[in-house]
Amino acid sequence: MISLNVNQKTYQVDVDPNMPLLWVIRDIIGLTGTKYGCGVAQCGACTVHLNGEAVRSCVTKVSRAEGQKIVTIEGLSANNDHPVQRAWQEIDVPQCGYCHSGQIMSAAVLLRENPNPTDQDIDEAMSGNICRCGTYLRIRKAIHIAAEMQKTKSNTGQTKNSVSPVKI
């Protein structure tokens, strides 16, 4: 039995200690927001927070995460309203959306560590996350928007829905 703390809940999982955290989160715990993309830490789709650091869960053995604090996309905020999530909604970043759990988890760590990232800071922090739809321009822009939201604690990103226009 391995004890895992995921999104502030404790799970006892009976798995091979070599099983990657990704598959434990998805198939054993049942949180499918974290994605399988490459299995070799090349694409970032599986990014989760381990003690606050962005890690690639596809190459992180579950035994390494035992007893530590894991946060997945489902636990980033209670109401889909972390500044990064709100910024993503503000300018409709996702297309197919598959990579964006990982993109958002990477961006959240960047903004915590560097509240005023430059384009170059963003490029460096985000270049481990592939988006095949090519949403990169919006990712960069959304991170700047999130930085502003974080700073002003404003809630300019009120719940968006399909009747409000996107501000370009």
């Binding site: 990657p20 197919c96 959306g97 960069r140 996107v166």
Partner: protein, 724 residues
Amino acid sequence: MENITEAISLSRRKFLKNSGLTGAALFLGFYLPVSAKAGRIITDTALNNLEPEIEMNAWILIDTSGKVTLVDHRAEMGQGSFQSVPQIISEELEVDLANIKVIFAEGNQKKYGSQITGGSSTIRGSYKNLLTLGASARELLIQAAAAKWNVPASECYAKSGHVFHKPTGRSFHYGELVVDASKLEAPKNVKLKPRSEYTLIGKPLHRRDTPLKTNGSAIFGLDKRIPGLVFAVVERNPRMRGTLKSFDESAALKIPGVKKVLKIKMAVFGTYREGVAVVADSTWTAMKGRKALKVEWDDSGFTHMDSADIYSQQEEALKTNEGLSLKKQGDPDSMLSNAENKIDIMYQTPYQAHACMEPLNCIAHYQEKKLEIWGPIQAPDWVQSFLSKEMNLPMEDVVVNMTFLGGGFGRKAFLDYPHEATLISKEIGLPVQVTWSREDDMTQGPYRPGVTYHCEGAVANGEISAFKFRMAGQNIDHWQGTERGKPNSSTTEGFLASYYDSIKNLSIADVPFETPIPIMWWRSVYASTNGFAYESFMDELAIAAGKDPLDFRRSYLKDERVQKQIDKMEEISGWKNRKKNEGYGVAITECFSTTVGQVVKVSRDDAGKIKIDQVWVVMDCGWYVNPDIIRAQVEGSIVMALGAATIHEITFKDGLVQQKNFYDYNMPRITNAPPVELYIMENDGAAGGVGEPGLPPFTPALTNAIFDLTGKRIRKLPFDLTAI
């Protein structure tokens, strides 16, 4: 907006249960092409005994509480159908987009017409029907209200899910009218709004799937779970056409959680490929079991290609074979033989993988005389009819459910992976999810075909005196049928028809070429490679003629819409005010009824490396729905084009694909994405495609810009942008 996390497919009773319709409901829909068909009312008792014929017409569903459910008949793979289809229907139906629910249709061509999400066809193929559908439902509801009030229908109007009586201000919500409306005959000729009265169409509204994609709640194929599900991975013959000689499963079966190991096959167009499936209690356990397999393959009976052989054979074919003529006017050959300076060029474009971020996967549940499929599927109706035939089941007993797709780009319109999952499920008697590893996805095809182009031309007095274009590359149509001897009709894809009116001596031909490598559409299909050849060739002709490349194109493209588009390109790019040390390149292509012109500006950075400073895009897609979705599609198309032009390619050695994962098939990253400015032309033309047409002109505009800056002409892709 209802925050559904999983788009639910229509499936007989299950649909009604899942969609939460209360009481009776008005089901309204049409056979395609649209024919007036009355709405049908479903009573509580009938809800439990739904007949297929009633479902046949279900596109718009309004229940007695006024709840509106719309069906998205196409896949949502990033291109925005989940927003744009309801945005169209709601415009004429007069309902609040925020309060409706959207579900995915199940695969059923009889109900929804073609559902193949390809050819950028979701809007351009359906919008007139969708508008008519919404308007017809609205008219029925107005008629029902008018009858209830005993007033003329002309005194009533619909808005926000209600019908109002103008003189008295009385109103009914739609739910109060559905029972009466369902008894009326649908109107034969409904009046559609002029564009000037649109309140939803043409607006950059937020996508309704965005919130689902920022908190992990959108359900992709790989996230789908059903009761009793087991998990499988498959070791397939790495040569894509081979069969299985033998395998030893003993070590795999010793791994706790591995349930079964079996020989399996899947259809690859007309052929079958074999592999060994490992079924386990989780995907990771199945992967572990797979590693423990010992397999021997039979690779006889087909050529094991090398990339170098492919291209040299194509070059040889182009030198020795005039090919099958697709278009010929004037006499380009005699003009060429008399020309003083003949331009004689080969262009080459590589094989490419689709590399969707969500690797292929599929759930199949085969039960006695019934098959149900869930997965990221681009063509649910094709999967339904194929599996019906292959498994010898009536169409209605094959239910194909779409999930959100983590990318598609053409790959997920292929039938191999649902077929393989079906055979595994049938064999083991359990519902199974088959997951392809990234390496499977990368090495197993099908691919965009590599193509060699032979372009011969001449200029005299500043004009094109001969234009001869031939291509040698695999014909995707040959995978779907056995007919040979016809030229590949896609040889002209990408090229603007307007050129035919002004280039007098022109020929376009296809030189047949085949290999055992399976190929498939890849975003913008042949235009993605033809566009590079046509528009590089056009640039070389312009330079040979001593003309400005943009003016040169303008002098040949006399079509009024294209003329306006070129003016706009010149204006927004500042083409005429280019500075020293800036390279400008232009390209204009047509793809799926949309014409896109791009101007790329390059310069050298401090380290002397080429950098892409700006991409200006002018798009003429006629009637359109959501300009922000268009913008997103264009931004993404450019990144995808950039990757295929400068970063990755699929190569073969001894019949094996040499790239395995993102470490050797590198992807464009955030650092590669160039700034993009888009202008959409406004006109009353019919709707053109949006998801793909932004891709083809980027690469030639880039290489033409590099020529402008450096004098170096790039004729073979991919090329290393950092090495110029």
